[in-house]
């Protein structure tokens, strides 16, 4: 038997227009905990989906060897039969079914043909729950358990499939400290029992604590594999591998002349809409007129939650915090009030939250500014078309006309429609959440140019982005968020990706 339980060789995976993985290799030794690190969008999850058969053989290039044997998984069931089980970031449990039913879903314990053997089901489920250290009755509905316990049920489910290689995608992202600690302890126990784990995590503290080896992926390529046992690997060392790329001249020039302070947020705290945990915890920031301020943070740091909550409390439950516009404290308890205070928020998820895809450009551009286009409730439709036409020209939206349906436009053009909508409301503050996500390089430059025009016109702009080079290239100042708290503020000029990443991964107990 070879020393490596898993080898992935020269994996290349392309999506239409994007090369998500290019020539990636990964070797995992038997019985170790192997961490995979990388920025958002680096290709970690894609690699794991290739491994677990979510993307079946034939949709990627390269080779997967399990115990030295080449494997071509046709789907998840196939890979699970070989003992490879993935637990996704979004838990895949059915809340109204019991713990036992969830554990054996699709893998039911049967007596005679097609009839569930409940005694066996519940007894075996109880056994598995003991192995993961969960004292719950197997007939409890999963929905009654907290997220931490649900995560353990997922692991129990994996164990029921005789797992040899367990893949966990961001297992602790939604967990509190205690639950995270328990989960990491469980991973160590599983290692004792000979189960190999691959763990994707943004929490570098966890990785240095628990991992035996760390592979770093950046821009769809393997950068390096660090042996965490042989050398003392610091978090800084991992960060250097994650961000080490050059800034090109992808950002149009802009001379920055910040003016008066426009927006100040102080001590903003928000609770998760259903769970009992804070997603934003005492966050503060300010933006001045003619200034671009960046907000950096890893997945789950609370960037979008902060932005949406500030924008008319459109996310979660507001706990505390003050909002000042032009030095005056104001209340914006609904989106309508926020818009009335001349705030704008362009969402990171255009298709779900930003656009009416079945409507045309005209209808989407005017959606937030209909009041401006109307008198006593009647919309001036000619003026509306004119406004949309002007937006189409100034934003360079590539479409046959303003009556084109937005659902048929490319991502970049859809984003320009979203920006047009908010620019038409003539805001003082624009919060742009991932303004260049999923759009090509050319369109990105156009979006940056639009941002430059906005600040030149005296607007205050907040940019939230996962791409650190983008923040460094576009912003004047950058705030970092970690676990819902602002952990740093630094001028973009002179800041480095390494420094940002340090602040972004700063955990609560290490906070200075």
């Amino acid at each position: 038997m070879s020393e490596n339980i898993l080898e992935m060789r020269a994996i290349t995976k392309t999506f239409p227009g994007v090369k998500a993985l290019e020539d990636v290799s990964l070797a995992v030794r038997r019985g170790e905990i192997h961490a995979i690190c990388g920025e958002n969008g680096a290709g970690k999850s894609t690699l794991m989906k290739v491994l677990s058969g979510v993307y079946p053989a034939g949709t990627y290039e390269g080779e997967i060897l399990l115990d030295g044997e080449p494997q071509r998984f046709s789907g998840i069931r196939d890979s699970e039969q070989h003992g490879v089980v993935i637990i996704h970031q979004e838990l895949a449990l059915i809340p109204h079914l019991s713990v036992a039913e969830n554990i054996f879903l699709g893998n039911e314990r049967l007596s005679v043909r097609g009839v569930v053997d409940w005694n066996r089901t519940n007894a075996e489920a109880g056994e598995l729950l003991r192995r993961v250290g969960l004292r719950e009755n197997p007939i409890t509905p999963v929905g009654q358990l907290g997220v931490g316990k649900q995560q353990l049920v997922e692991i129990a489910k994996a164990l029921s499939k005789d797992v040899r290689l367990l893949i966990l995608d961001e297992p602790t992202a939604a967990l509190n400290d205690d639950d995270s600690e328990h989960l990491l302890g469980l991973l160590r126990q599983l290692r004792e029992q000979g189960i190999t784990c691959i763990i994707i995590s943004h929490k570098l503290g966890e990785i240095t604590a628990v991992a035996d080896a760390t592979t770093i992926i950046r821009d769809g390529r393997t950068i390096e594999t660090l042996d965490m046992r042989a050398d003392e690997i610091s978090q800084e060392r991992i960060i250097r591998g994650m961000v080490g790329r050059e800034l090109g001249d992808r950002f149009p020039e802009r001379t920055s002349t910040p003016g008066e302070e426009v927006l100040r947020v102080e001590g903003w705290t928000v609770r998760h809409p259903v769970q009992d945990r804070l997603v934003v915890d005492d966050a503060s920031f300010t933006v001045r007129a003619g200034e671009v301020v960046g907000i950096a943070g890893l997945m789950g740091a609370g960037r979008t939650e902060l932005a949406m909550s500030v924008f008319g409390r459109s996310y979660g439950k507001y706990v505390s915090g003050k909002l000042y516009l032009h030095g005056q404290e104001v209340q914006a308890r609904s989106v309508q009030e926020a818009i009335a205070h001349r705030m704008a928020y362009a969402t990171e998820d255009r298709k779900t939250f930003g656009l009416n895809l079945i409507d045309d450009i005209r209808g989407n551009v005017s959606a937030a500014g209909l009041r401006k286009l109307s008198r006593r409730g009647w919309v001036n439709r000619h003026e509306e078309v004119k406004v949309a036409e002007e937006s189409r020209r100034s934003m360079r939206i590539k479409a046959p006309g303003v009556m084109s349906v937005v659902g048929g436009l490319s991502g970049g053009n859809q984003q320009k429609v979203v920006l047009s909508k908010w620019v038409y409301t003539d805001p003082d503050v624009l919060i742009l959440d991932e303004p260049t996500r999923g759009i090509d390089v050319g369109a990105k430059v156009e979006i940056y140019t639009i941002i430059n025009k906005l600040v030149a016109a005296g607007k205050a702009v907040v940019v939230i982005s996962s791409e650190l080079p983008e923040l460094l290239g576009v912003c004047d100042r950058i705030y970092t968020l970690a676990e819902g708290r602002t952990t740093g503020e630094l001028p973009a000029r002179g800041a480095s990706q390494e420094r940002l990443m340090q602040l972004m991964t700063q955990e609560k107990d290490t906070a200075r």
Partner: protein, 421 residues
């Protein structure tokens, strides 16, 4: 910065022809692609009109012209007016992404209240009308509260309403029919305005009213055209524009000639015309109407664009209640009585009218005019099959299949347009 990006894929794909049910497409477009888009985009809308013309022609031939006889055309208007009134409200409910299963019961309840006030209570008939409308609005507010404030799916709320308000109808009427209404009340649905200007076998007044209507339409169209030109938008060529006006005028005056040759201008037709024009304008041209489309198209995006989605949903149901009240008055007036089982299954006809008229099952798409044509398609089919003495069972089968085919066509065109949500 440079703009060396290749032609955007959006330019090629965006003309795939799901320009929704909204009219007036094609303005401000350029190039052959845009024309193609205007053509395919309007296919869904014009497809309905073509289907209507085809069905009318089919039954006109099959019934040896009886379908288009003056008496039958007048009857058709009278007989289906309340369904059309309900369909106006229903299409707005459906655009907002909901459904209302209770309208039949509400028609019965409002008619019953009116009858109790007028026939039992001896109040003047306008009081009965006011009472019916007030009850309709109250019922709408009840539904609106549960849907918009509490967040219960409209399907459930109005299913409960269907039972609830049917029960209340039985209670109000003490399980018996009330009749007859005074003359003024029954004239709402059965009255005619004629003889004001005399006529030669036909009613000149009716023709005059329609002629004024056509003239008004032509003037309004011309003004819109001028304003558009003033805003630098593209408009259709003058001959095409003129042809459209002439066509509309010819069809309308033909219809006017038919009813003028029967009993003259039905009062209910005036009510219906006012409602259709008002609601077509409200849905197309007001902030309220536009926000209904926005929230039906994408609720989250509408909310994040500052649309007060609760308010809009609430008023959509209040409006449905109001129109149910109007339909209740018309129906009780037409049958000259209030019956415990009045309005049974009306909701299904109204829903079918909206969907045949191009409303989308997922919300966000539909027009008042489309729903009217959809309602007329159902009306002509029922009426035509009755004239042909086709038995009830076959009628039901045919109507069911037509509804299914209409929605299947809608789903098909959407898939072809590649719009997935």
């Amino acid at each position: 910065m440079s703009h060396t990006t290749a032609p955007d894929p959006g330019t090629a794909r965006s003309d795939a022809g799901a320009s929704t049910g909204q009219q007036g497409g094609g303005a401000g477009s350029r190039g052959p692609l845009a024309h193609l888009q205007a053509l395919t985009g309007n296919l869904r809308q014009s497809g309905i009109f073509l289907a209507f013309v085809a069905i009318v022609a089919l039954f006109a031939v099959a019934t040896d012209g009886v379908l288009l006889s003056p008496t039958n055309v007048t009857n058709l208007v009278l007989q289906y007016s309340y369904i059309l009134v309900l369909a106006i409200g229903m299409v707005i409910v459906i655009i907002a992404g909901h459904i209302d299963l209770s309208v039949g019961s509400v028609v019965a309840l409002t008619g019953a209240v009116s009858a109790v006030v007028v026939i039992q209570g001896g109040a003047p008939w306008p009081v009965g009308v006011a009472a019916a409308l007030a009850v309709g609005i109250a019922v709408g507010a009840w539904h609106g509260f549960w849907v918009a404030q509490v967040g219960i799916p409209a399907f459930i709320v109005t299913l409960a309403g269907m039972l609830l308000f049917r029960g209340l109808t039985l209670r109000v009427l003490d399980n018996v029919s009330l009749s007859p209404f005074p003359d003024g009340y029954s004239a709402i649905a059965s009255g005619f305005i004629n003889g004001l200007l005399g006529g030669n076998g036909y009613d000149a007044f009716t023709l005059l009213v329609f002629a004024l209507g056509v003239a008004g339409f032509a003037v309004a169209a011309l003004r819109t055209r001028r304003t558009r030109q003033g805003y630098g938008q593209q408009v259709e060529s003058l001959p095409l524009f003129a042809l459209k006006i002439v066509l509309v005028a010819a069809v309308t005056m033909g219809f006017a000639w038919l009813i003028a040759n029967s009993r003259g201008l039905p009062v209910v037709l005036i009510i219906l015309a006012v409602l259709i024009i008002t609601y077509a304008l409200i849905t197309k041209n007001t902030v309220f109407g536009r926000q209904v489309y926005a929230l039906g198209g994408n609720l989250s995006a509408a909310r994040l664009s500052g649309v007060n989605t609760r308010n809009i949903n609430f008023w959509v149901f209040v409006n449905m209640g109001f129109l149910s009240g109007v339909a209740g008055v018309i129906y009780s007036s037409r049958s000259n009585s209030a019956q415990p089982n009045a309005g049974n299954m009306f909701e299904l006809d109204a829903i079918a009218a909206a969907f045949i008229g191009g409303a989308a099952v997922t919300g966000g798409v539909g027009t008042v005019v489309g729903a009217m044509v959809g309602g007329l398609i159902m009306a002509v089919m029922s009426n035509g099959m009755q004239l042909l003495s086709i038995d009830q069972s076959t009628q039901s089968v045919v109507r069911g299949l037509v509804l299914l085919a209409a929605v299947a066509f809608d789903v098909y065109t959407k898939k072809r347009a590649g719009i997935t949500r």
